[in-house]
Symmetry: C2
Subunit: 462 residues, 2 copies
Amino acid sequence: MSQQVLDYIAKNKNHFLESLKQVIRLESISAQPAKKDQVLKCADLETKILKEIGLEHVQLISTGGYPLVYGDWLHAPGKPTILIYGHYDVQPPEPLDLWKTPPFEPTIVGDNLYARGSSDNKGQHFSHLCAMEAYLKTVGKLPVNIKVVLEGEEEVGGGGIDKYVREHGKFLACDAVMISDTDWFDSERPAISYSLKGLCYFEIGVTGPSHDLHSGLYGGMVRNPLQSLSWILSKLKNEKEEILIPGFYDDVKPIAPDERKDIAALPFDANKVAEGAGASRLISEGTFSSVETNWCRPTLDICGMWGGYEGVGSKTIIPSKAGAKVSIRLVANQDPKKIEKLFVNYVKSLSVDGVKVEVHTHSSGIPFHVERENFFVQKTAKAYETALGKKMVFKRLGASIPIAAVFQSVLKVPVVLIGLGLPDDRVHSPNEKMSLPNFFDGIKGAALAYEAFAEENAKFKS
Amino acid sequence: MSQQVLDYIAKNKNHFLESLKQVIRLESISAQPAKKDQVLKCADLETKILKEIGLEHVQLISTGGYPLVYGDWLHAPGKPTILIYGHYDVQPPEPLDLWKTPPFEPTIVGDNLYARGSSDNKGQHFSHLCAMEAYLKTVGKLPVNIKVVLEGEEEVGGGGIDKYVREHGKFLACDAVMISDTDWFDSERPAISYSLKGLCYFEIGVTGPSHDLHSGLYGGMVRNPLQSLSWILSKLKNEKEEILIPGFYDDVKPIAPDERKDIAALPFDANKVAEGAGASRLISEGTFSSVETNWCRPTLDICGMWGGYEGVGSKTIIPSKAGAKVSIRLVANQDPKKIEKLFVNYVKSLSVDGVKVEVHTHSSGIPFHVERENFFVQKTAKAYETALGKKMVFKRLGASIPIAAVFQSVLKVPVVLIGLGLPDDRVHSPNEKMSLPNFFDGIKGAALAYEAFAEENAKFKS
């Protein structure tokens, strides 16, 4: 590793920070049409920064909505090509009255930089840009080929990049994708997330009589849609939290014994997690532990349900309609399209006479999984361990980052999710913050990782 | 039967109608505080009418809310005493734009009188007052002793009269109660309803985590209140519509073979009922017919349910809370207090770990049943058959009229529910109407019934 690069990083902390602050000050709230100018200004500022760093082919790529910010540096022949993904849009800051400092005026308190987008995702993806700058401003070149893609619609479900990646696989071709948009296991344990859930989201609608009926005049004679729906929903899971859809687990691989061992060795504090959720206790599927269930097993939740009279007091009716929303999180190897068919067929099979049952699919996303043994994963882990001075945890995540799976499935390359956030960063909430040590050490980590990827270039093509 | 009385009724149709119209014009909407004056004016007008008829001890009886209107005539020693119940309050007329004629300006179109309250219940109870007038203005006396009690809070659940009856059983002592507040079997078949359902109404609340959780970050680890609630609700009934609460059917008497035969002989048109409900078909409990289920078997309905996200699109959460409202209609011999205990214990027993389940009882009402062979029932049937020129149907009703059961249980007398409404009277809806032939023939029917009660006074004390 070039000492020049490390020195540059050490000496330019203030410069990096001021540059990041400029990006943070722009209110790039993709969900709010009134902030359109600010979102576009943020995209422009990022292109300006990519150019200043020394990236080439810097451009805005239109996808119909907010543009992708693109730049590359491809002068390391024989070395791997790394695609760095991040997003420049942020969540709305509301509710504003809960912010202790102005959400778009980055404010340093102690070791933290407070602002909307500081952790999710401006501070995190910026660490990579700073690492690139450190190389290009000192040794004048990068150890690997780099493509940067920053999205502006991540916080609004961004279908634009999904379509673009699927249609421009050649342009984005690379050997690995690196994303810093996740967090640590806890405040002392940095983490690579090597598995994310896929997602199927359904809405079930049950229609009975054409209008609400008197429960006395029609009771027992007309099928009740809420009762019918409860029969269906009650058979989605049993009390052991096992999903009852026939064939649902067919493609789920057992958790490898060494992975179970690794997970069991983690200092997962069930009481603390229950407390954070405000739940009386944690549960789990069958004989799996709670954390195994959340990380490694598909899960199913009823996210909403409605029907009939919801006001105060009593109203004695057989409602005309009932409905429910159901999210299913899938693990690696499960195909959302297959699960969708299984779910729809199962729900329809549970339908009773006298009501009409319809199932609508809202969205589906493929699960993501990368082998922990993968060359890029291992190199990244070592590099960041060195930079952060802390041992890396390999963890799964019960949540979904659909773009990671899209990169992997379209570009056929590993995706490394190296998180710089902390669990208490309050992303999506008031008083979001980024740990400054994490930001600065993250720059070092990225620099060390790029160099590590280049060192043994024969091995990455496995 | 005195021909004088019948002649008076025949000659005074217009006078009766004008008197009824005066009562109808008052907007006695007990649910709307702004109409308080109108409700009280209506009570005053009814007392005025009772006095004009020739009743004695006419008074307003305060029960805390709107007063009872009371009057009696007790100069038939050795003859039975009949308590006539009705209510002078009406449902709100809204939605007003659906009325074809002004709701409080009684309008005759063809054979019908259109107005709010015309059928429910001003026209129906007024038939009794007119019959009394016909006696007192001709022969100068009634064939039986009569007590009239008119309530002003029936449409708002009226607890006032319930308490009053329980505390003043001696004052209201009688040999039978007559109520005209029900309807015919169909447009050609007048009916006595000899059985009404009791009612238990519950609200179930399930609380899980203290706030909505991310279904990815907590899926499988935190118990879902909507899933937990669906497990509970799914076990209230099975798909054969059998109620699964242990002990629930213990006190339910089998339907007598002759009653089953009578019910089967009625021209109950399942297709027409399904069409009216906008349902694809009727269902029933086990091997009972649909009409047997609704009339003679206890029924259970989920009247409302809620929890989580009910808006458009997808929101991936484990909701913090879920709730449902459940109505149970009881048949004769079932005790609401006992059923309440069985229900609460059963629901609690279905509760799973990780959530808190609470059950709140909104209301309960005892079921009502009178023997079809009862002296007053039989006499009433014959009298109205003569007056209406149509054969009487004995039917049960799946709905509840709690005061009927209270009269029966407190005063220990039979209650005769002789309906003058037609199934298409649109009570509680816009364009409510009362059939004028039913109103006038109902006056005759009441007169003939009073006389029939007096004829064989030895038999009523059975």
